[in-house]
């Protein structure tokens, strides 16, 4: 045998080096999508005085870049405008707006950024930073990704502890009025993001330096 052949390990090393040096593969975003507002929903359900109630946030922006074979370029970014909350009770809505709960005046939005998406045995999982009321918590965001009559559909359900975010603090912290666990249900029917949206726009600007290659 010719011992001058490079070892497989070296080949791999060089290959990885080459891949990482190639910006189009490394930094490219997966295909980007935005939700179709009329068909998408961001809802939650909690318990109050022994009864389950559901609410929705009607006003939110989401941008999802995802392809199972382009995980490094996949990410999910959501901004929720909290005052669009509707829990089918004016009294409850106005209570939730107050300082003890979401404190809309100080924290008008909540954000969700999953910069990393991996594939677990159960399917895709985002490792996301969820920020509510100024408090950020890393959460695991398992979701399903289906194609339904030509549209991609993302569905997810996560359970949050409202006290992780100081929602319902102080005298409301115990569960005598409201339970701590809140189920959040995400249903996004997706359309391709318009070409003019963030990454494309950034890339299209002549001044955009390669270093600013879109991660978001």
């Amino acid at each position: 045998m010719n011992t001058r052949h490079p070892s497989p390990a070296l080949l791999l090393f060089v290959g990885v080096l080459g891949l990482s040096a190639c910006p189009t593969l490394y930094a490219a975003d997966a295909p980007a999508y935005v939700p179709v507002a009329a068909q998408s929903s961001l809802s939650f359900s909690g318990t109050q005085q022994g009864e389950r109630f559901t609410g929705v946030f009607r006003d939110f922006d989401a941008r999802i870049a995802y392809a199972p074979d382009q995980l490094p370029g996949s990410h999910i970014d959501v901004t929720i405008r909290l005052k669009s909350l509707d829990s089918k009770s004016q009294d409850r809505d106005s209570a939730l707006a107050g300082a003890d709960w979401f404190d809309f005046a100080k924290f008008p939005t909540a954000t969700f950024h999953a910069a990393t998406i991996r594939i677990s045995s159960a399917g895709p999982v985002g490792d996301a930073d969820l920020t509510i009321k100024g408090k950020t918590k890393r959460i695991s965001f398992p979701f399903t990704w289906k194609n339904d009559s030509g549209k991609n559909v993302l569905d997810a359900r996560v359970t949050l502890d409202r006290l992780d975010f100081g929602v319902g603090a102080g005298e409301w912290a115990d569960e005598s009025v409201a339970g701590r666990k809140v189920d959040v249900v995400v249903h996004l029917v997706l359309a391709s993001a318009p070409a003019a949206a963030a990454p494309a726009a950034t890339a299209g600007k002549p001044a955009a330096a390669p270093a600013a290659a879109p991660k978001h």
């Binding site: 022994g50 009864e51 109630f53 004016q90 009294d91 409850r92 106005s94 005298e171 005598s176 009025v177």
Partner: protein, 190 residues
């Protein structure tokens, strides 16, 4: 009403228990309702509301049981009095019974239209009568408040009439329902 169902004597023990027990709860629930409504939002406020609703549901259930029980009982005959007084007493009783149902039901409707949970002493949750509905909520709230004040007025009229019969007419009307009260002048039970 068929007079055949009236008898001399007084109301039975269970009837009197319904009467005075419900009055006792009424004397708690009305001031509670007036006090709690203007409180700023707090857990204490929600707990007072929950207590008000629990007592209200209890009164609604007692009203139904009381009406059922009343239908099985023979009513004691009233002492002789002018016909207008008998008619007024009868009309007042109809109004009292109607309001015993209408006021808590309007409260339940108000609570349902407001989209709020309804729990009986933290034990059992009751279903909403309607879906959340802001317009109906204000209407039901008005009905609940107006009904409650009307009930207070009829209770006061009823009590005033009973006291008038006892202290002015000196007949046995009050003694029919009141434990420990004897008909004036006779020193004996009616």
């Amino acid at each position: 009403m068929a007079t055949a169902t009236t008898v001399p004597g007084r109301w039975g023990g269970l009837s009197r228990l319904f009467h005075w027990g419900m009055l006792g709860l009424f004397l708690v629930i009305v001031p509670l309702g007036l006090y709690m409504a203007d409180l700023p939002l707090s857990k204490q406020k929600l707990k007072l509301y929950a207590l008000h609703k629990s007592i209200g549901l209890t009164l609604l259930a007692l009203a139904a049981l009381r009406l059922l029980w009343r239908s099985t009982q023979r009513r004691p005959s009233l002492p002789p009095m002018p016909a207008w007084q008998e008619r007024a007493a009868s009309a007042t009783h109809v109004a009292l019974y109607a309001l015993m149902f209408l006021v808590p039901l309007a409260g339940w409707l108000f609570n349902s239209a407001a989209g709020f949970p309804l729990q009986w002493f933290g034990q059992v949750n009751l279903p909403a009568l309607v879906d959340a509905n802001p317009a109906l909520k204000s209407l039901a709230r008005e009905a609940h408040e107006l009904g409650a004040w009307t009930l207070v007025a009829f209770v006061a009229l009823h009590a005033a009439a009973a006291l008038k019969h006892h202290f002015i007419d000196r007949d046995r009307t009050l003694a029919l329902m009141t434990p420990g009260v004897k008909a004036p002048g006779t020193g004996v039970d009616p």
